[in-house]
Protein backbone atom coordinates (compact mmCIF):
# COMPACT_ATOMS: atom_id res chain seq x y z
CA UNK A 1 0.00 0.00 0.00
CA UNK A 2 2.78 2.42 1.03
CA UNK A 3 4.72 1.48 -2.08
CA UNK A 4 1.67 2.17 -4.27
CA UNK A 5 1.18 5.57 -2.67
CA UNK A 6 4.81 6.44 -3.37
CA UNK A 7 4.45 5.46 -7.01
CA UNK A 8 1.24 7.48 -7.36
CA UNK A 9 2.77 10.57 -5.77
CA UNK A 10 5.84 10.26 -8.00
CA UNK A 11 3.60 10.05 -11.07
CA UNK A 12 1.65 13.09 -9.95
CA UNK A 13 4.88 15.02 -9.38
CA UNK A 14 6.11 13.99 -12.81
CA UNK A 15 2.90 15.01 -14.56
CA UNK A 16 2.77 18.35 -12.72
CA UNK A 17 6.36 19.22 -13.61
CA UNK A 18 5.83 18.19 -17.21
CA UNK A 19 2.61 20.14 -17.60
CA UNK A 20 4.15 23.20 -15.96
CA UNK A 21 7.02 23.05 -18.42
CA UNK A 22 4.65 22.84 -21.37
CA UNK A 23 2.30 25.53 -20.09
CA UNK A 24 5.12 28.05 -20.39
CA UNK A 25 5.48 27.32 -24.07
CA UNK A 26 3.22 29.46 -26.26
CA UNK A 27 0.54 28.06 -28.56
CA UNK A 28 3.10 26.18 -30.62
CA UNK A 29 3.20 23.52 -27.94
CA UNK A 30 0.05 22.00 -29.41
CA UNK A 31 1.95 20.91 -32.47
CA UNK A 32 4.82 19.32 -30.62
CA UNK A 33 5.67 15.69 -30.50
CA UNK A 34 6.29 15.53 -26.78
CA UNK A 35 8.55 12.50 -26.92
CA UNK A 36 11.15 14.32 -28.98
CA UNK A 37 11.15 17.30 -26.63
CA UNK A 38 12.07 15.40 -23.54
CA UNK A 39 15.69 15.89 -22.80
CA UNK A 40 17.12 14.53 -19.57
CA UNK A 41 15.18 12.88 -16.78
CA UNK A 42 16.68 13.55 -13.36
CA UNK A 43 15.88 12.01 -10.01
CA UNK A 44 16.62 13.56 -6.64
CA UNK A 45 15.09 13.61 -3.20
CA UNK A 46 12.37 16.00 -4.37
CA UNK A 47 11.12 13.61 -7.06
CA UNK A 48 11.56 13.18 -10.77
CA UNK A 49 11.79 16.07 -13.19
CA UNK A 50 11.84 16.18 -16.93
CA UNK A 51 13.81 18.82 -18.72
CA UNK A 52 12.22 19.99 -21.90
CA UNK A 53 14.73 20.69 -24.64
CA UNK A 54 13.72 24.22 -25.56
CA UNK A 55 15.13 24.40 -29.10
CA UNK A 56 12.83 21.64 -30.21
CA UNK A 57 9.73 23.34 -28.92
CA UNK A 58 9.51 25.58 -31.98
CA UNK A 59 9.39 24.21 -35.44
CA UNK A 60 9.22 25.04 -39.12
CA UNK A 61 5.72 25.06 -40.49
CA UNK A 62 4.36 24.48 -43.99
CA UNK A 63 4.40 21.46 -46.20
CA UNK A 64 7.86 22.16 -47.56
CA UNK A 65 9.31 23.44 -50.74
CA UNK A 66 7.19 23.78 -53.84
CA UNK A 67 9.11 24.65 -56.96
CA UNK A 68 7.45 25.58 -60.21
CA UNK A 69 9.68 26.37 -63.11
CA UNK A 70 9.99 26.87 -66.85
CA UNK A 71 12.80 25.70 -69.11
CA UNK A 72 13.32 27.26 -72.53
CA UNK A 73 15.45 25.74 -75.26
CA UNK A 74 15.59 25.31 -79.01
CA UNK A 75 12.49 23.12 -78.96
CA UNK A 76 10.33 25.61 -77.11
CA UNK A 77 9.47 25.80 -73.44
CA UNK A 78 8.12 23.48 -70.77
CA UNK A 79 6.61 24.34 -67.39
CA UNK A 80 5.87 22.14 -64.40
CA UNK A 81 3.96 23.43 -61.39
CA UNK A 82 3.58 20.84 -58.62
CA UNK A 83 0.92 20.93 -55.89
CA UNK A 84 0.11 18.61 -53.01
CA UNK A 85 -2.31 16.40 -54.96
CA UNK A 86 -1.86 17.43 -58.58
CA UNK A 87 0.66 18.66 -61.13
CA UNK A 88 0.03 21.38 -63.69
CA UNK A 89 2.10 21.18 -66.88
CA UNK A 90 2.40 23.38 -69.93
CA UNK A 91 4.43 23.19 -73.13
CA UNK A 92 4.90 25.68 -75.94
CA UNK A 93 6.81 23.95 -78.72
CA UNK A 94 8.84 26.07 -81.12
CA UNK A 95 7.09 25.10 -84.34
CA UNK A 96 6.02 27.35 -87.19
CA UNK A 97 2.82 25.34 -87.63
CA UNK A 98 -0.02 24.03 -85.48
CA UNK A 99 1.27 20.94 -83.72
CA UNK A 100 0.53 17.78 -81.82
CA UNK A 101 2.38 17.26 -78.55
CA UNK A 102 3.13 13.88 -76.98
CA UNK A 103 5.00 13.55 -73.74
CA UNK A 104 5.33 11.89 -70.38
CA UNK A 105 5.23 13.09 -66.83
CA UNK A 106 7.06 11.00 -64.28
CA UNK A 107 6.31 11.49 -60.60
CA UNK A 108 8.79 9.96 -58.16
CA UNK A 109 7.46 10.03 -54.63
CA UNK A 110 10.01 10.33 -51.87
CA UNK A 111 8.59 7.13 -50.37
CA UNK A 112 9.97 5.21 -53.38
CA UNK A 113 6.78 4.87 -55.45
CA UNK A 114 6.47 6.22 -58.98
CA UNK A 115 3.61 7.24 -61.20
CA UNK A 116 3.64 7.88 -64.96
CA UNK A 117 1.29 9.91 -67.12
CA UNK A 118 1.07 10.00 -70.91
CA UNK A 119 0.43 13.53 -72.07
CA UNK A 120 -0.94 14.71 -75.39
CA UNK A 121 -2.62 17.68 -76.96
CA UNK A 122 -3.01 19.81 -80.07
CA UNK A 123 -1.96 23.43 -80.22
CA UNK A 124 -2.50 26.27 -82.67
CA UNK A 125 0.50 28.19 -83.93
CA UNK A 126 2.18 30.15 -81.14
CA UNK A 127 -0.03 28.76 -78.40
CA UNK A 128 0.66 26.38 -75.56
CA UNK A 129 -0.88 23.11 -74.46
CA UNK A 130 -1.50 22.53 -70.78
CA UNK A 131 -3.37 20.30 -68.37
CA UNK A 132 -3.41 19.09 -64.78
CA UNK A 133 -2.90 15.50 -63.66
CA UNK A 134 -4.19 14.20 -60.34
CA UNK A 135 -1.79 12.26 -58.15
CA UNK A 136 -2.56 8.93 -56.49
CA UNK A 137 -0.48 9.62 -53.41
CA UNK A 138 0.23 12.54 -51.13
CA UNK A 139 3.61 13.51 -49.68
CA UNK A 140 6.80 14.83 -51.21
CA UNK A 141 7.83 14.03 -54.76
CA UNK A 142 9.95 15.13 -57.68
CA UNK A 143 8.38 15.41 -61.11
CA UNK A 144 9.90 15.30 -64.57
CA UNK A 145 8.33 16.29 -67.88
CA UNK A 146 9.57 15.59 -71.39
CA UNK A 147 8.05 15.25 -74.82
CA UNK A 148 8.05 16.00 -78.50
CA UNK A 149 5.92 18.01 -80.85
CA UNK A 150 5.12 17.30 -84.50
CA UNK A 151 3.88 20.07 -86.74
CA UNK A 152 0.62 19.17 -88.43
CA UNK A 153 2.08 19.79 -91.89
CA UNK A 154 4.35 16.83 -91.17
CA UNK A 155 7.61 18.69 -91.75
CA UNK A 156 8.67 19.77 -88.28
CA UNK A 157 9.61 17.81 -85.23
CA UNK A 158 10.98 19.34 -82.03
CA UNK A 159 12.01 17.95 -78.68
CA UNK A 160 10.61 20.09 -75.92
CA UNK A 161 13.24 20.69 -73.20
CA UNK A 162 12.89 18.49 -70.13
CA UNK A 163 11.73 20.17 -66.97
CA UNK A 164 12.01 19.04 -63.37
CA UNK A 165 10.25 20.35 -60.29
CA UNK A 166 9.59 19.21 -56.75
CA UNK A 167 7.08 19.32 -53.95
CA UNK A 168 7.70 18.75 -50.24
CA UNK A 169 10.90 17.71 -48.56
Amino acid sequence: MKKNKKIISSLIALSVITSVSFSSVSVQAATINTKSNIGTVTKDNKGTSVEVTKDKLYKFGGSGIHIDTTVTGNGGSATVDPYSTSVYWKVKPATAWPYEFKGTLEVDYYNGDSQYFNLSGFGALGTSVSDTVELDETGGYSVYLDGEAYSLNGYEYVVVPGCEAGFGY
Binding site: S26, K54, D55, Y58, K59, F60, G61, G62, I65, H66, I67, D68, T69, T70, V71, T72, G73, N74, S77, T79, D81, K92, S142, Y144, L145, D146, P161, G162, C163, E164, A165, G166, Y169
Partner: protein, 199 residues
Protein backbone atom coordinates in the same frame (compact mmCIF):
# COMPACT_ATOMS: atom_id res chain seq x y z
CA UNK B 1 23.16 18.86 -74.13
CA UNK B 2 21.71 21.97 -75.69
CA UNK B 3 21.72 25.59 -74.63
CA UNK B 4 18.75 26.20 -72.34
CA UNK B 5 17.55 28.95 -70.07
CA UNK B 6 15.39 28.37 -67.01
CA UNK B 7 13.62 30.72 -64.74
CA UNK B 8 14.27 29.94 -61.12
CA UNK B 9 13.24 31.64 -57.91
CA UNK B 10 15.13 30.51 -54.85
CA UNK B 11 13.09 30.26 -51.68
CA UNK B 12 16.33 30.77 -49.76
CA UNK B 13 17.66 33.91 -51.48
CA UNK B 14 14.25 35.48 -51.34
CA UNK B 15 14.01 34.78 -47.62
CA UNK B 16 17.05 36.94 -46.98
CA UNK B 17 15.36 39.80 -48.81
CA UNK B 18 12.15 39.20 -46.88
CA UNK B 19 14.03 39.54 -43.60
CA UNK B 20 15.72 42.74 -44.78
CA UNK B 21 12.31 44.15 -45.63
CA UNK B 22 11.02 43.31 -42.17
CA UNK B 23 13.98 45.08 -40.60
CA UNK B 24 13.43 48.11 -42.84
CA UNK B 25 9.75 48.27 -41.98
CA UNK B 26 10.45 48.11 -38.27
CA UNK B 27 13.29 50.65 -38.52
CA UNK B 28 13.76 52.22 -35.10
CA UNK B 29 11.11 49.99 -33.61
CA UNK B 30 13.27 46.86 -33.49
CA UNK B 31 12.47 44.77 -30.44
CA UNK B 32 14.90 42.58 -28.50
CA UNK B 33 14.60 39.64 -30.89
CA UNK B 34 16.19 41.62 -33.72
CA UNK B 35 19.74 42.68 -34.46
CA UNK B 36 20.55 46.28 -35.26
CA UNK B 37 20.29 47.21 -38.94
CA UNK B 38 24.08 47.65 -39.01
CA UNK B 39 24.64 44.15 -37.63
CA UNK B 40 22.19 42.72 -40.18
CA UNK B 41 23.91 44.40 -43.10
CA UNK B 42 27.24 42.95 -41.96
CA UNK B 43 25.84 39.41 -41.95
CA UNK B 44 23.75 39.50 -45.12
CA UNK B 45 26.55 39.60 -47.75
CA UNK B 46 28.33 36.67 -46.07
CA UNK B 47 25.26 34.48 -45.91
CA UNK B 48 24.11 35.47 -49.43
CA UNK B 49 27.49 34.99 -51.09
CA UNK B 50 27.95 31.69 -49.29
CA UNK B 51 24.62 30.48 -50.68
CA UNK B 52 25.46 31.60 -54.21
CA UNK B 53 28.90 29.99 -53.94
CA UNK B 54 27.39 26.62 -53.04
CA UNK B 55 25.82 26.20 -56.46
CA UNK B 56 27.27 23.26 -58.37
CA UNK B 57 26.07 21.85 -61.68
CA UNK B 58 24.84 18.28 -61.36
CA UNK B 59 24.02 15.63 -63.91
CA UNK B 60 20.27 15.70 -63.57
CA UNK B 61 17.40 14.51 -65.67
CA UNK B 62 16.36 17.96 -66.79
CA UNK B 63 18.20 21.15 -67.74
CA UNK B 64 16.96 22.83 -64.57
CA UNK B 65 17.82 19.96 -62.18
CA UNK B 66 20.94 21.69 -60.82
CA UNK B 67 19.00 24.77 -59.80
CA UNK B 68 16.27 22.75 -58.10
CA UNK B 69 18.77 20.55 -56.27
CA UNK B 70 20.77 23.60 -55.12
CA UNK B 71 17.72 25.29 -53.63
CA UNK B 72 16.58 22.07 -51.95
CA UNK B 73 20.01 21.53 -50.41
CA UNK B 74 20.11 25.11 -49.12
CA UNK B 75 16.70 24.58 -47.60
CA UNK B 76 18.03 21.75 -45.47
CA UNK B 77 20.35 24.29 -43.84
CA UNK B 78 17.70 26.93 -43.26
CA UNK B 79 18.19 26.72 -39.52
CA UNK B 80 21.42 28.64 -40.10
CA UNK B 81 19.39 31.73 -41.07
CA UNK B 82 18.70 32.18 -37.36
CA UNK B 83 21.84 34.33 -37.30
CA UNK B 84 19.76 37.06 -38.91
CA UNK B 85 18.16 37.45 -35.48
CA UNK B 86 19.42 37.79 -31.93
CA UNK B 87 21.11 34.69 -30.61
CA UNK B 88 18.52 34.18 -27.86
CA UNK B 89 15.55 31.91 -27.39
CA UNK B 90 13.25 34.82 -28.28
CA UNK B 91 15.34 35.60 -31.34
CA UNK B 92 15.05 32.01 -32.54
CA UNK B 93 11.33 31.99 -31.90
CA UNK B 94 10.97 35.19 -33.93
CA UNK B 95 13.01 33.68 -36.73
CA UNK B 96 10.75 30.63 -36.92
CA UNK B 97 7.62 32.77 -36.85
CA UNK B 98 8.96 34.89 -39.68
CA UNK B 99 10.07 31.83 -41.67
CA UNK B 100 6.62 30.29 -41.34
CA UNK B 101 4.89 33.51 -42.38
CA UNK B 102 7.29 33.82 -45.27
CA UNK B 103 6.77 30.22 -46.36
CA UNK B 104 3.00 30.77 -46.62
CA UNK B 105 3.41 34.01 -48.51
CA UNK B 106 6.11 32.58 -50.76
CA UNK B 107 4.15 29.53 -51.86
CA UNK B 108 0.74 31.15 -52.09
CA UNK B 109 1.59 34.50 -53.59
CA UNK B 110 5.12 35.51 -54.36
CA UNK B 111 6.46 32.49 -56.22
CA UNK B 112 3.33 32.24 -58.32
CA UNK B 113 3.55 35.92 -59.23
CA UNK B 114 7.27 35.77 -60.04
CA UNK B 115 6.97 32.69 -62.22
CA UNK B 116 3.91 33.95 -64.05
CA UNK B 117 5.71 37.13 -64.94
CA UNK B 118 8.89 35.28 -65.87
CA UNK B 119 7.11 32.88 -68.19
CA UNK B 120 6.47 35.87 -70.46
CA UNK B 121 10.06 37.06 -70.48
CA UNK B 122 12.27 33.98 -70.43
CA UNK B 123 11.61 32.96 -74.07
CA UNK B 124 12.34 36.55 -75.18
CA UNK B 125 15.60 36.69 -73.22
CA UNK B 126 16.54 33.24 -74.51
CA UNK B 127 16.09 34.41 -78.11
CA UNK B 128 18.02 37.65 -77.53
CA UNK B 129 20.99 35.87 -75.95
CA UNK B 130 20.93 33.02 -78.44
CA UNK B 131 20.93 35.37 -81.43
CA UNK B 132 23.71 37.48 -79.98
CA UNK B 133 25.86 34.42 -79.28
CA UNK B 134 25.33 33.10 -82.78
CA UNK B 135 25.97 36.39 -84.52
CA UNK B 136 28.97 37.43 -82.40
CA UNK B 137 30.56 34.09 -81.55
CA UNK B 138 29.13 31.73 -84.07
CA UNK B 139 28.07 29.02 -81.65
CA UNK B 140 25.87 28.22 -78.68
CA UNK B 141 27.26 26.78 -75.44
CA UNK B 142 26.04 23.36 -74.37
CA UNK B 143 25.00 24.41 -70.92
CA UNK B 144 21.95 25.10 -68.86
CA UNK B 145 21.68 28.64 -67.54
CA UNK B 146 19.11 30.27 -65.32
CA UNK B 147 17.88 33.62 -64.26
CA UNK B 148 17.23 33.60 -60.52
CA UNK B 149 14.42 36.01 -59.80
CA UNK B 150 14.14 37.84 -56.51
CA UNK B 151 11.25 39.99 -55.40
CA UNK B 152 13.25 43.08 -54.43
CA UNK B 153 16.63 44.68 -54.97
CA UNK B 154 19.77 42.69 -54.20
CA UNK B 155 21.58 44.34 -51.26
CA UNK B 156 24.97 45.99 -51.54
CA UNK B 157 28.01 43.68 -51.55
CA UNK B 158 25.89 40.66 -52.47
CA UNK B 159 26.79 38.65 -55.57
CA UNK B 160 24.65 39.28 -58.62
CA UNK B 161 25.48 36.02 -60.31
CA UNK B 162 26.60 32.46 -59.74
CA UNK B 163 28.53 30.28 -62.17
CA UNK B 164 25.48 29.49 -64.30
CA UNK B 165 22.92 32.09 -63.31
CA UNK B 166 22.33 35.78 -62.94
CA UNK B 167 20.22 37.18 -60.12
CA UNK B 168 17.64 39.73 -61.17
CA UNK B 169 15.03 41.68 -59.29
CA UNK B 170 11.50 41.36 -60.66
CA UNK B 171 11.32 45.17 -60.58
CA UNK B 172 13.90 45.27 -63.36
CA UNK B 173 11.56 43.50 -65.80
CA UNK B 174 9.78 46.73 -66.57
CA UNK B 175 10.44 47.63 -70.20
CA UNK B 176 12.06 46.46 -73.40
CA UNK B 177 15.28 48.29 -72.56
CA UNK B 178 15.34 46.60 -69.13
CA UNK B 179 14.93 43.19 -70.76
CA UNK B 180 17.77 44.07 -73.08
CA UNK B 181 20.01 44.94 -70.08
CA UNK B 182 19.10 41.68 -68.34
CA UNK B 183 19.93 39.76 -71.53
CA UNK B 184 23.23 41.59 -71.74
CA UNK B 185 24.18 40.54 -68.20
CA UNK B 186 23.39 36.93 -69.00
CA UNK B 187 25.32 37.16 -72.24
CA UNK B 188 28.38 38.49 -70.39
CA UNK B 189 28.11 35.73 -67.79
CA UNK B 190 28.08 33.11 -70.56
CA UNK B 191 31.11 34.66 -72.22
CA UNK B 192 33.00 34.90 -68.94
CA UNK B 193 32.28 31.25 -68.20
CA UNK B 194 33.99 30.24 -71.41
CA UNK B 195 36.67 32.91 -71.01
CA UNK B 196 35.67 34.60 -74.22
CA UNK B 197 36.36 38.31 -74.62
CA UNK B 198 33.30 40.41 -74.05
CA UNK B 199 32.46 42.64 -77.04
Amino acid sequence: MEFTLCNASSINLNFILYVINIYKNKKSNLTDEFLSIEELYQIVPNIWNDMVGKFKPIEGRAPNSSFIYWDKELLKERDSYRILFKDTEEGYKEYLNIWNQYSEWWHNECQVMLNKKMDEFIPTIYELVKNKLISNKGYLPSDNFAIEIVFSEVPKDCLLNGTLFTIESINDFCSESCISKISERLYKLILSKYSIDVK
